[in-house]
């Protein structure tokens, strides 16, 4: 592969995670944190960034070790690598903001079992070089942050009338309490998926 096309494909790895293969809206991966911690935009952002970090680091390590990991025990190895970085993030968040750590609760530890991270390790990082794996991790991670923000913002605006803690509406605004409850998470995600499906259908129809 020539230098130029190598350059181009690594940009592609980055772009695809943002939109065309967005982990949440298109691949429907890593649903649990998506629904659980997106009741405010702030939590969503923190969760997204933590996941981005773990995804990036695990992609780097898995891609660096890909020649040394025996095929039979690869999944177990990936999980251990991921669990290590999640422990790091867990203690990091605890050090930065204890309040945030309380709000996210066990869901930081549960990044370990985010299918997205294991999926990228298995499907991409274990087969590709480090440079491309970094781009892939960044793209997918930022796509994930974007999706979490989409959900978190909608739920916070409708559920409390605020965004990042700033009041948006006049006092007369009636909160949709259901949006910050669990069922609101399901409805919001369903709504976003519908929007994406509709856009995809319309694009196909136009062709």
């Amino acid at each position: 592969m020539s230098q130029a096309s190598g350059q181009k494909s690594s940009t592609n790895e980055f772009i695809k995670g943002l939109w065309k293969e967005n982990p949440v809206f298109v691949q429907v991966l890593g649903m649990c944190p998506v629904l659980a911690v997106t009741n405010t935009a702030r939590n969503a952002l923190a969760m997204g960034l933590a996941t981005l970090f773990v995804l990036l680091m695990s992609n780097i390590v898995v891609s660096a070790l890909r020649r040394f990991i025996p095929k039979q025990v690869r999944i177990a190895t990936f999980i251990l690598v991921i669990a290590t970085f999640v422990t790091v993030v867990d203690y990091l968040i605890m050090a930065i903001s204890l309040e945030l750590h309380k709000a996210l609760g066990a869901f930081i530890s549960l990044i370990v079992v985010n299918c997205l991270i294991l999926g990228r390790a298995e499907a991409f990082a274990s087969k590709n070089g480090m440079g491309r794996s970094i781009m892939d991790g960044l793209g997918m991670g930022i796509g994930f942050v974007f999706a979490l923000l989409c959900l978190g913002a909608v739920r916070e605006i409708l559920g409390t009338g605020e965004l990042f803690g700033l009041q948006l509406f006049h006092d007369g605004f009636q909160d949709w309490v259901v949006m910050i409850l669990p069922s609101g998470g399901f409805f919001t995600l369903a709504g976003w998926l519908l929007l994406f499906n509709w856009m995809k259908k319309r694009k196909e129809g136009a062709r």
């Binding site: 649903m31 659980a36 669990a83 066990a106 530890s109 079992v113 985010n114 399901f186 369903a190 499906n197």
Partner: protein, 193 residues
């Protein structure tokens, strides 16, 4: 928390704080294998077994980690235990029922990354339950998971026959159903005290 009666722990994990519908744990298999009733019940069975075993092991590990003063190893050792239990179940099902093995497909090894199981291990540690309470908590969570899976599978089987717009088909529809079920389960709040 440690004084909770066993039935309250069970009802709490099963209905009020249902793992799928209130904590959003185990959404992937919930959406993935809930299209058919038969696979849903069997998936529930497999998850129940893994939950019971891993809950028991997690209890022991937690005691050990406290004894050697290494809490930062918690996550890594929990996930290692869960992964090996899943491997065991996979080998068992493959031997005993190849048909079921094919039906569950990729979702069987993915039980490892089922957040409900790791979540269970973490929650029971946070709540400081004793051994018997842990077992009941695991049982409640497993029954709750199976219940949610079976309920949604029933709804989805019915909707196979309904005429829904093209855009809604698939995951979006399943999510809306889940939202409605989750609302219904909110009615259980306050049941176990």
């Amino acid at each position: 928390m440690t004084g909770d009666p066993l039935w309250a722990i069970f009802v709490n994990a099963c209905l009020i704080n249902n793992f799928v519908l209130a904590y959003f744990l185990g959404i992937c298999p919930f959406l993935g294998v809930s299209a058919k009733m038969a696979t849903a019940t069997r998936m529930g069975g497999a998850v129940t077994f893994v939950m019971l075993v891993s809950s028991t092991c997690a209890f022991g590990i937690q005691k050990l980690l406290v004894a050697i003063d290494a809490p930062y190893l918690k996550l890594i050792s929990f996930i290692a235990v869960i992964a090996s239990t899943v491997q065991l179940v996979e080998m068992f099902i493959k031997k005993m029922s190849p048909g079921l093995f094919r039906a569950l497909g990729i979702f069987l090894p993915l039980i490892t990354t089922n957040c409900a199981i790791l979540g269970l291990a973490l929650f029971q540690t946070n709540k400081g339950y004793n051994f018997v309470q842990c077992i009941f908590y695991a049982l409640g969570a497993a029954v709750g998971f199976t219940l949610a899976l079976v309920l949604i599978a029933g709804l989805r089987e019915k909707l196979e026959l309904a005429r829904v717009p093209d855009v809604v088909k698939g995951t979006a529809l399943a999510l809306m159903l889940a939202g409605l079920l989750s609302m219904a389960f909110m009615g259980f709040a306050g049941l176990g005290g």
